[in-house]
Symmetry: C2
């Protein structure tokens, strides 16, 4: 596994891999890797033969500088995990390599109006901008994004379609701890007690699944039930509990098509997000956690 | 020469050309070709072996729908000129192929604040967005933009740098009629009288060159002189006469570095732009028209 910090180096290594007819897979990360990231690499390996991972804590997507400054970092462990999981190349640029006197922004309307887009002003512009840069630097055939950041995954798919990036986007599943807590680098910030409290998010989503399987389709009723359960964990703030269309992330009063129920809540200073995708298999509802 | 309208077709043809180790040159146009466009193709041929031209009147870069609706079109003549000048592939998409339910915008700060950016709200977002799409569709090695649209050429260079597009940008010269009038598709709209009147733009720039060669460096004095000459042509409106830095297109009080003097003015309903670049050769000023 190679680790490089310069754009020109990345390009030259990937050019060589392409000359050897290898398909390039790409997993962008902000480091502090956990099983969620590694599952994305595993997914990428199903489709491609040369695995690139970027590790870059992208300042411009943080709307909260405290969140940026305390974002967990452990490069040594990241390199170890990446190598053991078949990553061929890590791109580890610094701020200057990525944003020397940067003036360009990529923006997406509508799909970023709700959910995290509403709570984190500027966040998605930062995401689209860095992902556009990384796609142009790495020029992968396939890039994998996790379902946990569902608004990111869906809206990047749309950006790629709109701007015609020659990259296939795949969404990887949410990886959970045994307790049900969705894995996240930010979980490191949770005290033992808050980590216990935060399980109400998953429990709330599981309750929503039960309601859906019992025939409930009214978003308001389902959301109220989730809220009741989440409040039991005494969250410091609930950013949203929302039911939205999968296609364009617009709000949904009645669940009757492919949909997402998504939650964001603070436990202590730590903002956690989670969701489930509601699909239909032979007419029957199926919730994908 | 082939003419195709579908993105998939373009990609497959260019993939084949790349497999044959041809470098891909690209000249984006809105059609109604004149010698200016053809000079960009000639420039592209110096660097590459397979010439792609897009012809697409990009609605989202027009801030004035009358300008869009009356933009001159003559595809038959375009195909004829393109073929005779060595274009290998014309990409001729329709609106739907380019913008089905489009939500993504590419935006550049600062470099678009002055000149045409100030007069044509939304124009450059439309330009950056379509150029990003075309770069991703065509994936050229080299793309050529004309000096006539200097703000476009300079700011696309910056967008390419910021977003790391793997494309080399070259700026081609302004091509002029014998009278000095800069060639433009919109010149077709000029009556014989207005076309005569409009020569004051070039005359104004030539006067500025004279002042500079005589040692004048004060932008205000030079601009006033240009304005006096342009007013003799009874323009219907002067959008701007500005001296800006070449590097970032910010206003310049004293000409003392690489700079641009740019003009936009209406003659009748037709908005004309022109400019000269001020360079230094062994310490001596040189104006490039």
């Amino acid at each position: 596994m190679r680790v490089v910090s310069k754009i020109d180096e990345v390009r030259s290594i990937i050019e060589d891999a392409k000359k050897n007819n290898l398909l390039i897979g790409f997993v962008p990360t902000m480091g502090f890797l956990h099983k969620g990231h590694l599952s994305l690499v595993a997914e990428s390996k199903k489709h491609t033969q040369f695995q690139v991972m970027s590790i870059f804590v992208n300042k411009i997507q943080f709307n909260n500088m405290n969140d940026y400054n305390t974002y967990p970092r452990d490069l040594e462990n990241d390199f170890d995990l990446a190598e053991k999981n078949g990553v061929d190349l890590i791109f580890l640029p610094d701020d200057d390599e990525m944003y020397g006197n940067h003036l360009t922004t990529v923006h997406l309307d509508r799909l970023t109006d709700n959910l995290c887009g509403a709570c984190r002003p500027g966040h998605f512009d930062g995401v689209f901008t860095v992902v556009s840069k990384l796609f142009n630097i790495i020029q992968p055939h396939v890039a994998v994004f996790g379902q946990k950041d569902i608004q990111q995954a869906v809206s990047i798919q749309k950006m790629v379609y709109d701007l015609n990036f020659p990259v296939k986007i795949i969404m990887g599943p949410i990886i959970r701890e045994d307790s049900g807590l969705a894995m996240s680098s930010r979980n490191k910030h949770l005290s033992r007690e808050k980590r216990e409290d935060a399980l109400v998010i998953y429990k709330g989503l599981k309750r929503a699944e039960q309601l859906l399987l019992n025939g409930e389709r009214d978003s308001k009723i389902i959301i109220n039930e989730i809220e009741k359960i989440i409040l039991k964990g005494r969250p410091d703030k609930i950013d949203y509990i929302s039911a939205v269309r999968f296609s364009d992330l617009s709000f949904l009063d009645t669940i009757g098509e492919k949909a997402v129920i998504a939650v964001a809540a603070f436990f202590g200073d730590t903002r956690l997000i989670d969701n489930m995708v509601i699909e239909y298999e032979r007419g029957r509802i199926k919730c994908v956690f």
